[in-house]
């Protein structure tokens, strides 16, 4: 019953979000045509794609509709400075600062960057703003769900609560319990936060004008580093013993095996970081490349070819958007699942069931 309800909700939300995806496609089409008319000579695909994937100082929702965001700087001689990012548009110099390829430099009267002035940049960029928005959304959503549990104690869940309860239960029963064993409750808050944080940011990234937050390697790096600390600070004596003296390895091989084991410890969070970043970025690049095919055709064969190609490209783009919705859920699930597996392998007692991680040697059983 619960599962059927969950499936139905899933279908409804997918349809709802895919209509947004379609809107994105159309919007980008309009954008491109305007720029095309302005500068007929060249349409730079790589630049267009990077512009949509990159972090930015202002939040561009559509072509020409940009929300300026605060630039916050700290320098040793001038202290804290705050101004709007709209002053720095198109390489303009403001307060002796200039933005070049995303980095801010202090410049002299002639406009040359002074490399010896260290500028600490704490600006609220597009990604930071999107992160704050998603944090506020998460707090609002889960405050309402929590108050639902307080109000309807012992009764059936209502509204948002009944939508999220199956997902929370899924994380608990299918991710946390099988991998963490009896101690699962201790790690559940982290796993749930991780799951919903990645999920909501993946979905926000698919909205028209959304920021590509989970496709930013710094964000996935922080998530992976948190996982690294959770795993290693909770590792029990078996976990550490395994690192310094892997079972079944001859003593002569230990000088090679110990570095290998230590490298393995760092490679687990590394793979988490790269996977989330690569999957989300690749999805965005595919959709943007499909859309730019229209403009390439337009440049090569005139507007009739452009229109013709767009009839073929549009269904593909919608299809990719639907795939991206699946990927958004899948990547949140995989990140959480692997985190719980890594924690599980660090906290498991060797006498309990082994979950397939860590070879114990034939004499252990």
């Amino acid at each position: 019953m619960m599962r059927r309800l969950f499936n139905r909700f899933f279908v409804v939300t997918s349809l709802f979000l895919s209509s947004f995806g379609l809107a994105t496609a159309q919007e980008h089409t309009l954008d491109g045509q305007e720029t095309h008319q302005e500068q007929k000579e060249k349409f730079n695909v790589g630049e267009m794609i990077m512009h949509h994937i990159r972090d930015d100082r202002g939040w561009e929702f559509a072509h020409g509709v940009t929300l300026p965001l605060p630039v916050i700087l700290y320098t040793a001689d001038r202290g804290l400075e705050v101004f709007s990012s709209s002053h720095l548009n198109h390489g303009e110099v403001y307060n002796n600062y200039k933005s070049e390829h995303g980095h801010l430099y202090r410049v002299n009267e002639a406009g040359e960057p002074l490399k010896d002035v260290k500028v600490y940049d704490f600006s609220i960029t597009k990604n930071v703003a999107s992160l704050m928005l998603s944090a506020i959304l998460l707090i609002l959503i889960f405050r309402s769900v929590a108050s639902g549990y307080a109000k309807n104690k012992g009764k059936a869940p209502k509204g948002l609560q009944s939508f999220l309860e199956p997902i929370v239960m899924f994380v608990r029963d299918e991710i946390a319990k099988p991998n963490l064993g009896p101690q699962y409750e201790k790690y559940l808050p982290y796993l749930l936060t991780l799951f919903f944080f990645i999920l909501i940011n993946n979905l926000l990234g698919l909205l028209p004008g959304g920021a590509n937050l989970t496709g930013n390697i710094a964000v996935t790096l922080v998530l992976a580093v948190i996982t690294f600390f959770v795993v290693n600070l909770n590792g029990n004596k078996h976990y550490w013993a395994h690192l310094v003296k892997p079972t079944g390895v001859p003593v002569a091989l230990l000088p090679i095996m110990i570095p290998v084991e230590i490298v393995g410890v760092f490679m687990k969070p590394f793979s988490l970081m790269v996977r989330l970043f690569a999957n989300i970025t690749a999805g965005h690049i595919i959709i943007l490349s499909l859309i730019s095919l229209i403009f390439i055709a337009n440049n090569l064969g005139g507007s009739a070819t452009g229109w013709g190609i767009s009839l073929i490209v549009a269904p593909f783009t919608i299809f990719m958007n639907l795939i991206e919705l699946l990927v958004a859920f899948l990547q949140a699930f995989i990140f959480t699942l692997l985190t719980s597996m890594y924690i599980g392998s660090a906290i498991e007692d060797h006498h309990e069931a082994d979950h397939g991680i860590g070879y114990e040697g034939p004499e252990a059983h």
Partner: protein, 82 residues
Amino acid sequence: MENKPGSTDPKSRFDKANRKVTSYTQYSSIAFQMLGTIGLGVWGGMKLDEWQGNRLPVWTIVLALTAIGASLYLFIKGLPKE
């Protein structure tokens, strides 16, 4: 509805599917781990060669091969035991 901590799920079919997903996830993670391990070995080797000024990139070769061996070891160790 009420699940006691540590109690096992009786739906074995679902468990089986879940185990499949779990091992699939593990395989996909191993690919990135191998990539990272070998990359780290090659990068470290290149840095060492640069530092020592070797004409023949001995460290790059040795560490790249070691890293390939290490990634295979970590791969086999990470396989689900079934």
